[in-house]
């Protein structure tokens, strides 16, 4: 029987009086994409730094493919590559030099290292920039190089810490494509994210983490079912029509409808996206024209509100890495 890619039990890590990780239990099946979803400071980065053997847990155990991260750290390092949230490549070297350096450290000969670096630069669309210093790269290129640097020997587990934070949509899609190709190749991917959409797009299972604890776990479908499919926003051309539209909507959807700060807009939680079409038709037959409407994914805030009863803590912009 294959051991799970990651198995943690009661994992605890404290920095001073702050318990950054406070009893995390994770079970990541081999060959899957696993998303760890949570706001800044929830304990995501600390958890995966323990899995990458960069931090020792204060209590609890963590195993990667059956190997203990403390007692068998080298066996874990053989199987895991991690791409951190902040660039883990050398800005004062070229892209090619970065990859050759890491290939040499993995045991490639000088010649093999050069060949492997060339292959990767070609495959990841970095050949043109290969001999430029990394500090001249755009954010998307840097991130791609950073992920490429984790793939010199294809790892059995790739850990990505917020791989698309700060990227434009095009670069984000490229990162997603890379993740999908890796999984198709048999690598297990563990990624942290603040975006429900990202977890939904990529992950087979998601753990929602807050205050260092897993507060929900399941497939994206299960998770969304517990939150509602999304939010419907409707905008009428004339604010005077809003009250009428509110009554029609509330009746058709069977859920509370909230006026928003915009005097012509209404918002409602929708559990079944399919009903939206019918509801919009009812508005039309009631003689209410629409200026605009949108059906959006529930945001991380809405997930948190549904799961914990409190929104993501306001003003939590401090970097977890300051504590880690």
């Amino acid at each position: 029987m294959r051991p799970p890619a990651v198995e943690t039990a009661g994992l605890v890590k404290a920095f001073g009086t702050t318990r950054a990780v406070d009893g995390v239990d994770l079970h990541v099946p081999s060959g899957s994409v696993y998303g760890v979803l949570g706001p800044n400071g929830a304990g995501k980065t600390t958890t995966i730094r323990i899995l990458a053997t960069l931090l020792r847990p204060d209590a609890g155990t963590a195993r990667v493919f059956g190997h203990d991260v403390v007692a068998e750290a080298d066996a874990v390092r053989d199987r895991v590559s991690m791409t951190g949230q902040y660039a883990s490549v050398d800005e004062d070297l070229t892209g090619r030099e970065n990859l050759v350096l890491l290939a040499r450290l993995l045991g490639f000969s000088r010649q093999q290292a050069r060949v492997r670096a060339g292959e990767l630069l070609d495959a990841f669309g970095l050949a043109e920039a290969a001999d430029r210093l990394v500090k001249t790269y755009s954010g998307g290129m840097r991130r791609r190089l950073d992920i490429t640097a984790s793939l010199i020997v294809t790892p059995r587990l790739l850990v990505l810490d917020e791989p698309t934070t700060g990227l434009d949509p095009h670069s984000r899609n490229q990162v997603w494509d890379i993740v999908r190709a890796l999984v198709a190749d048999g690598t297990t991917v563990l990624l942290t994210t603040q975006y429900l959409e990202e977890a939904d797009q990529l992950a087979d299972r998601i753990a929602v983490i807050d205050h260092g604890r897993v507060i929900a776990e399941g497939t994206p479908g299960q998770l969304k079912a517990s939150v509602g499919a999304g939010a419907l926003q409707v905008r009428v051309p004339d604010p005077a029509q809003r009250a009428h539209a509110e009554r029609v909507l509330a009746q058709a959807l069977g859920v509370p409808v909230h006026p928003t700060s915009d005097p012509a807009t209404l918002s409602a939680r929708v559990d079944d996206a399919h009903r939206v079409v019918a509801v919009l038709a009812e508005l039309s037959s009631a003689g209410i024209a629409l200026a605009d409407f949108a059906l959006g994914q529930p945001s991380l805030d809405e997930v948190f509100l549904a799961l914990t009863g409190h929104p993501t803590r306001p003003g939590t912009t401090t970097k977890e890495d300051d504590a880690a």
Partner: protein, 273 residues
Amino acid sequence: MTTTPIIPDVGAALSARARPPRPSALSASRTFAWRALLKLRHVPEQLIDVIGIPVIFTLGFTYLFGGALAGSPRAYLHFLLPGTLAMTVVLVTTFSGVTLNTGITTGVYDRFRSLPIWRPAPIVGAVLGDSGRYLLASALVIALGLVLGYRPGGGVVGVTAAVALLLGFAFGLSWVWTALGLVLRAPSAVNNLSLLVLFPLTLASNIFVDPETMPGWLQAFIDLNPVTHLVTAERGLMAGTATLGQIGLVLATSALLTTVFAPLTMHLYRHKR
């Protein structure tokens, strides 16, 4: 900017091949030394201020005080040059602490620490790679000396031996700054503190004048100062008159510094969050 190319075929780039055997401790350290040299090549301006000071000191002291102190600038140069050579390299050693401190706060060291390699390799390699800096700085000072009329009595062999001994001393001293670089928070703090330590050690030594005319308490300090003994050995080697005792003392100092500060550095590195 060109448009970002679509990723052609990531799947093909994933290696099915087996992981090569792990590199030896020596091989991994050498790779990190190579990294240090690459950085020196890409960012050569990092040497400017540290080399500037001794150049100014050599020129300034030779022509301002040379005549008064030794009869002629040229005679003084023969006394001074081995001293400024030592001073230059001793000052350049502070960079090993500064670069480590700068690097460790970026994610690059996280990657190194998550690799299955000999744990001390990144630091040992960086310290070894710094020898490139020391060689470059030594060459610059010696070339300047030769242009000004310095003619070493020990010849090529003496000068080579002097530079080799200097590298040995610098290797030991570097560990002090790497330990400091892991304790302090900011690169500027590492730089300031190490220069604060080094300026008294280089000034209150026999680099610029013979300590004989100084007050007794200062002579006592100068006698204890390892920089004094380094300069004595450098002068001896470059003039071709060094004794084994002079050389042995410098090597012993370097060994002592390495024995204390290399393990301390590694301890701090392992426990660095």
